[in-house]
């Protein structure tokens, strides 16, 4: 049984309002599946619906139709609060813009990744270990503004991994960093995900990144027109 399975998903975005120059976009996915432990890069042009798909998978937005089964749970049928809980316990997200909280230290930002997950113990210790492993030993008490771009991205990676999620979603994780750092960050994500047994779904339009993964799929391959 796949870890993630999307069936007959329809999500309509935007309003067909010419006055506001806003066009309606509909994302249709008849079927998409991801096996446990898989590492997949999802490619596609800007505006093709990659981010919308990630938001749907992690339950930030709900589809108009269809089902999204993760760990055999159809998250579409969950209440918003239940989806939030489910996301906290099972999904880690790495953003292109890192989305670190500026008032919190690197260590606190990582700990926030498990703050809303129930039954988590030894988080401070694990957060520190994770940051040390990512080469940020000297940066534990530093705020994001005091870190380099590469360091910020590593903190964001650590935050996504701290709760040992079943699924890690990475949305253009290397778009804000240079090429040398990109390869390192991707390798770190893959390595840590493998150790934790997490499934990895990366969205990227960077061909170099795609080449680092065993599997690549273009979003147009499985969305319906």
């Amino acid at each position: 049984m796949p870890l993630l399975e999307i069936t007959n998903l329809v999500k309509r975005l935007g309003r067909n309002n010419a006055a506001q120059n806003e066009q309606q976009f509909t994302l249709r996915i008849p079927h998409f599946a991801l096996e446990q432990g898989a590492e997949l890069v999802l490619t596609g042009a800007s505006g093709s619906g990659k981010t919308t798909l990630l938001n749907l998978i992690c339950g930030i937005i709900a589809p108009d139709e269809g089902s999204i089964k993760l760990l055999n749970t159809n998250i579409v049928g969950l209440t918003e609060a239940a989806r939030d809980r489910f996301r906290a316990g099972n999904i880690g997200i790495v953003y292109q813009a890192f989305n670190l909280l500026q008032g919190f230290t690197a260590l606190e930002n990582v700990m926030l990744g498990a703050a809303f997950q129930k039954g988590n113990v030894d988080i401070p210790v694990r957060s520190e270990e994770l940051l040390v492993r990512l080469g940020l030993k000297e940066c534990l008490r530093r705020k994001p503004a005091e870190l380099s771009i590469g360091q910020q991205q590593r903190v964001a990676v650590a935050r996504a991994l701290i709760s040992k999620p079943a699924l890690i979603l990475a949305d253009e994780p290397t778009a804000s960093i240079d090429e040398a750092n990109s390869a390192t960050v991707i390798e770190e994500i893959r390595s840590l995900a493998r150790e934790q047994g997490s499934t990895l779904l990366v969205v990227s339009h960077d061909k170099n990144i795609a080449q680092m993964f065993p599997a690549t799929q273009a979003i147009h391959d499985f969305i319906a027109p």
Partner: protein
């Protein structure tokens, strides 16, 4: 990471703004707490109603002045009344007991009260609690003094020391009575009332030293007049001979402390006056008729302390109410500054809120987060405010004591402080509802963009 730590993290992120809003709350809370404490303690200080004597009789004038001066040593007495009036009232069948008092002198600024020995046995400073001696004993004869605990502490006096009585009610280096030096035979136990601020001796002592002074002044005047006429200056007549009269008393040598001997002599009736009398009536049913009968006469007036003090508090209470109202308004403004601070920063915080939601925080958590930030600011402001009020009252305590009189002491914490704190916290939670609801409704997907 605990919820509390997340709240603290966000407050730390906006530390300056958080501190400013907390400070505005603190100012309001400090004002209200101080005014409430001051009102409570001044009411306590002026509610000495169980003295065992229900009525005060004194010279005609303001009844409030009579009560404040007699009971709390505030202001000046209305004047004196002849001893005959005291004796006449003592014979009144409605009167159970009377305690005469004569004022007019001070020791180091503390009022000298010439009274009867019954003061130590009949006067109550709290309900059923009589005056106790901390050291020594009550005066047994003239030219002995017993001092209140505050007098002893402030003037560093002990039993066996001697004090010099000075004329008038205010402290002054001048006006020392030549005969006014006498030993301290006892120190009263603390009462936390104006009793602690008194210097007690017999009425005869006070009369005697005043009369001596008068005699000496007369002799000096006669001598000056004779000298002006070219006559021989008469011999010093004032030799403290025995006088025949009603008010005989003996003055012995006091272990060499006095440079003056006090012999028996009579004091003319016009010098034997009483400033006030505490009256205990046989039954409450006599209160009105007794007061009326005294007030209808021309010699004296009678007043009930409890009635006068209540009238005073009614007047003061109106002013107090206005001050309190203004202070409450300052609190409300302070708490509304929390609302303004939270609301205006909400737009820039939408991304933070969206991040927390993406990390798994529920809408309710975000709602509580905003509410908690408001409550934390109010809590800090409230606690600091109460601390400031206590500090302010502590620092101003001596000055307040001097201006208000009575023994004004402040507790470290009052029940109303807890209510005030609870009120401020409740209000802060109420005003935070608006930004909390807005935060609750934050669109996560839109505020996380751009993601790619």
């Amino acid at each position: 990471m605990s919820f509390f730590r997340i709240v603290l993290g966000f407050l730390r992120q906006r530390l300056f703004a958080s501190l400013l809003t907390a400070a505005s709350v603190a100012v309001g809370v400090a004002l209200v707490a101080a005014i409430l404490a001051l009102r409570l303690e001044s009411e306590r200080a002026f509610s000495q109603k169980d003295t065992g004597f229900e009525v005060i009789v004194g010279a005609k004038g303001s009844p409030l002045q009579l009560v404040l001066n007699t009971m709390y040593h505030l202001g000046s007495p209305n004047g004196n009344i002849p001893l005959a009036v005291y004796e006449q009232l003592r014979a009144d069948k409605r009167v159970s007991a009377m305690l005469p008092m004569v004022f007019g002198d001070n020791v180091g600024g503390y009022k000298v009260i010439g009274t009867a020995p019954e003061f130590f046995t009949t006067f109550r400073y709290r309900k059923n609690i009589g005056i106790q001696m901390a050291e020594g004993k009550p005066f047994e004869k003239n030219y002995q003094v017993v001092i209140g605990t505050e007098v002893a502490q402030r003037l560093a006096l002990r039993v066996g020391d001697s004090v010099t009585i000075r004329h008038g009610l205010a402290e002054s280096a001048e006006g020392a009575h030549e005969h006014g030096k006498m030993p301290i035979v006892g120190i009263l136990a603390p009462t936390q009332t104006a009793i602690d601020k008194g210097v007690y001796s017999t009425m005869e002592t006070v009369w005697d030293i005043h009369y001596h002074e008068y005699e000496e002044a007369q002799e000096e005047a006669e001598a000056a007049a004779a000298k002006a006429r070219g006559e021989a200056v008469p011999e010093h007549k004032h030799e403290h001979h025995d006088h025949d009269g009603e008010h005989k008393h003996e003055h012995h040598d006091h272990e060499g402390e006095h440079d003056h001997e006090h012999h028996d002599h009579a004091i003319p009736p016009e010098w034997t006056t009483v400033t006030a009398m505490a009256v205990k009536l046989k039954s409450p049913i006599f209160f009105e008729s007794f007061i009326r009968s005294v007030n209808e006469g021309t010699a004296a007036q009678a007043a009930m302390p409890i009635r006068e003090i209540m009238a005073l508090f009614e007047i003061v209470g109106n002013v107090n109410g206005v001050l309190l109202g203004i202070s409450y308004l300052v609190i409300v403004i302070g708490v509304f500054s929390i609302l303004v601070s939270l609301y205006t920063t909400l737009n820039e915080r939408r991304r933070e809120i969206a991040i927390l939601r993406a990390l798994g925080a529920r809408r309710q958590t975000i709602f509580l987060l905003i509410l908690s930030e408001s409550v934390m600011i109010a809590l800090v402001g409230g606690v600091v405010g109460i601390g400031l009020s206590q500090l302010g009252l502590y620092l101003a305590q001596d000055r307040l004591k001097a201006s208000i009189g009575g023994n004004l002491t402040f507790a470290p914490f009052y029940t109303f402080d807890a209510w005030l704190l609870a009120g401020v916290i409740g209000l802060s939670a109420l005003v935070a509802l608006l930004p909390a609801i807005k935060a609750y409704r934050t669109d996560v997907a839109r505020n996380l963009a751009p993601l790619s």
